[in-house]
């Protein structure tokens, strides 16, 4: 068991996910219909993307509490740029580019403070999250500014019969695979595992940590663009729960918070598990006073299960 699980802690997450899928399908007869699956994937996708990005930061032994605020800032930037340019298809493209650009900038800011100035990652990204959220409120003080219909219809629709959300998920999987095969990924794990040793072997630790923060912010920006497709408008308070949910997903997926161990595929599964827990609780018909409590207990049980199985 231990040898099989060595470095494959995500197998436990996968098992948990399959159990939840089974339970959900039993409670909700139409769960496996394509339209229902697509609607569930649309709900889970933003957290999946943010959790993938968060993994790279955690692998390097850092943490990124600002992802939720990045989501809000990217969202208000995108909708404001689209509105300012008139709302035709070119302005949509400009808005998407501006959103990704803002994401990269946020990642660089985080990386600069943490890796160059050597500030504590938790406090630094907590502080930058307040700055990013404040900027979002400055850009768009009130929820509003609808995006052109082509944007959200495109997101809810598909290309060549494949739903857009499935394409986004596929693109995320390809990115995980490509990044995972690059020397960057091995070096990043080295930085998280034994930072001093990594530095002494000549790895440019600072640059790797900055790259991880940029990746995290870019994935948050992509999540934000998906959310914008889903909500069709700007909201400066968007994404507030994403930071801690994404860290839960990362840990559920078998990545150690100390860094060095794990990978983004596990986080993807972890995010799906978190989403499915919410679903199962709904379809189990629990009284509302207990829903939050039971959700917390199941997440705790899932975390504990992973730890106990891995220890053996």
């Amino acid at each position: 068991m231990a040898t099989l699980l060595d470095g494959r802690l995500w197998l436990i997450t996968l098992t948990a996910l399959l159990v939840l899928v089974g339970v959900n399908a039993a409670l909700q007869p139409n769960f496996l219909e394509p339209s229902v699956l697509q609607s569930n994937l649309t709900t889970f996708l933003p957290l999946v993307l943010v959790a993938i990005g968060q993994t790279y930061v955690v692998l390097a032994g850092d943490i990124d509490l600002s992802v939720g605020a990045v989501v809000a800032l990217v969202n208000v930037t995108t909708v404001s740029v689209i509105a300012a340019l008139g709302g035709d298809s070119q302005s949509v493209l400009a808005g998407l580019a501006a959103g990704i650009g803002v994401g990269i900038a946020c990642g660089l800011v985080n990386g600069f403070f943490v890796a160059v100035l050597r500030f504590q990652p938790i406090v630094t990204t907590f502080a930058t999250s307040i700055v990013f959220a404040g900027l979002a409120l400055r850009i768009l003080p009130d929820a509003g500014l609808p995006v052109p219909e082509a944007y959200w219809r495109g997101y809810a629709g598909g290309l060549f019969g494949v739903p857009t959300v499935v394409l986004v998920l596929a693109a995320a999987l390809v990115t995980i695979a490509v990044v995972g095969r690059r020397p960057f990924f091995t070096r990043l794990r080295a930085v998280g595992g034994q930072r001093t040793a990594a530095f002494q072997t000549g790895l440019s630790v600072g640059r790797l940590r900055i790259a991880a923060y940029v990746l995290s912010a870019v994935f948050a920006a992509l999540a934000s663009l998906c959310l914008t497709g889903e909500t069709a408008s700007g909201d400066p308070l968007m994404g507030q729960t994403l930071a801690l949910s994404s860290i839960s997903a990362v840990v559920l997926g078998g990545t150690a918070l100390a860094g060095g161990v794990g990978g983004p595929f596990g986080s993807l599964l972890g995010a799906l598990v978190l989403g499915m827990i919410g679903n199962v609780i709904f379809f189990a018909g629990l009284p509302f006073e207990y829903q939050t409590l039971v959700q917390g207990l199941i997440v705790l049980a899932a975390l504990a299960g992973g730890v106990l199985v891995a220890r053996r």
């Binding site: 229902v36 933003p46 957290l47 929820a143 069709a232 989403g275 709904f282």
Partner: protein, 338 residues
């Protein structure tokens, strides 16, 4: 024989028309679990659903209530759609973000009613109070109590929250009509009682000659604690709130206060309106108003020193977190329909 019986039954059901299909499933979504007000809101809605049994209508409710952000609450709505409910009543976390998902719900023939916070969607209606009117009522009370002159500070909720925004517009409009009332500062304390207390302490220290405080909801209890510990109970008038423990304090300390009531019964009111609509009734042409033209505004009660005793009597035996409430009853809701 059995077939004939069944046929007779069917004919009877057809004759009684509206009474034929009298079982509805309504999904209730609440996206924030931070106060007892929300719990009371859901419990009153559940009780209102049961009360329809007296009219021969079975209303089943399914509740989703958890701390979620916008996409989490969109997930609530998706689950309701996938489950096939007849109507969705939602206390929404965003005014605009639900436009696409509400459009999907409507396309499946589901009635969507938002309550407590207005939504821009053309595919939904709003049943609740006018947040701007809520603020104007207590602002007018404050201006009147101060005889139209003096220095005041305001303490608001969460910047960027739509209800907060409408309330700010409301009191600003009122105080503009009283040129001798000067707003010294407008602070945010995030609808948090402790923050409301701290903010008030800071404001009282900064502006020792302040005469009045306009403060929202639950933060009022915190603000009043700060006023009392500064020993200014008799020198300052401030708006109050509607929880029983505050009403007790209000009466015991002889405070001069006034509180607009945002009744937790709003969701029950929305439910009563929704069931009438599900029974096939049509809305009167002139019931909708509001910024988005889809709102049915319900009355806003007001608690002041004049009617404090009555309200305390109504709250007798309730726990401290119980809020003064009001509901649009089944019969009152019928008045919105043709």
């Amino acid at each position: 024989m059995k077939a004939a019986f069944l046929a007779a039954g069917l004919a009877l059901a057809a004759l009684t028309g509206a009474n034929a299909q009298e079982t509805f499933t309504i999904g209730l979504s609440n996206g924030w679990v931070g106060s007892e007000w929300r719990t009371q809101m859901i419990e009153e809605a559940e009780a209102a659903a049961k009360a329809w049994a007296d009219k021969g209508v079975t209303v089943n409710v399914v509740v989703q209530s958890s701390n979620v952000d916008v996409q989490g609450q969109i997930g609530h709505v998706r689950n309701f759609i996938n489950q096939g409910v007849d109507a969705i009543i939602i206390n929404p976390n965003s005014p605009t973000a639900f436009d696409p998902i509400f459009a999907q719900a409507k396309a499946k023939g589901i009635l969507v009613v938002s309550t407590d916070a207005e939504v821009s969607s053309k595919d939904a209606i709003y049943v609740g109070i006018d947040q701007k009117g809520w603020a104007m009522k207590s602002a007018e009370w404050l201006a009147k109590t101060l005889d139209g002159k003096g220095s005041i500070v305001t303490i608001n909720g969460v910047a960027g929250h739509p209800a907060n925004q409408m309330r700010v517009e409301g009191y600003q409009e009122v105080f503009k009509g009283h040129p001798d009332i000067k707003i010294l500062n407008e602070a945010n304390a995030n609808w948090d009682q402790a923050q409301g207390q701290q903010t008030t302490q800071t404001l009282l220290a900064t502006y020792p000659d302040v005469n009045g405080i306009w403060v929202q909801d639950g933060m009022a209890a915190g603000a009043w604690r700060a006023i009392m510990s500064a020993g200014k109970t008799k020198d300052i008038v401030a708006t109050g709130e509607i929880r029983k423990d505050f009403l007790d304090l209000w009466s015991k300390e002889g405070l001069t206060s006034g509180a607009s009531v945002n009744p937790p019964g709003v969701m029950a009111s929305a439910l009563n309106v929704a069931v009438h609509r599900l029974m096939g009734k049509e809305f009167k042409d002139d019931v909708f108003g509001g910024v988005y033209g889809n709102a049915i505004y319900i009355p806003i009660p007001f608690v002041s020193n004049e009617n404090l005793a009555e309200n305390l009597k109504a709250a007798e035996g309730k726990p401290g977190y119980w809020s003064v409430t009001a509901q649009v009853s089944i019969d009152e809701a019928a008045a919105f329909f043709k």
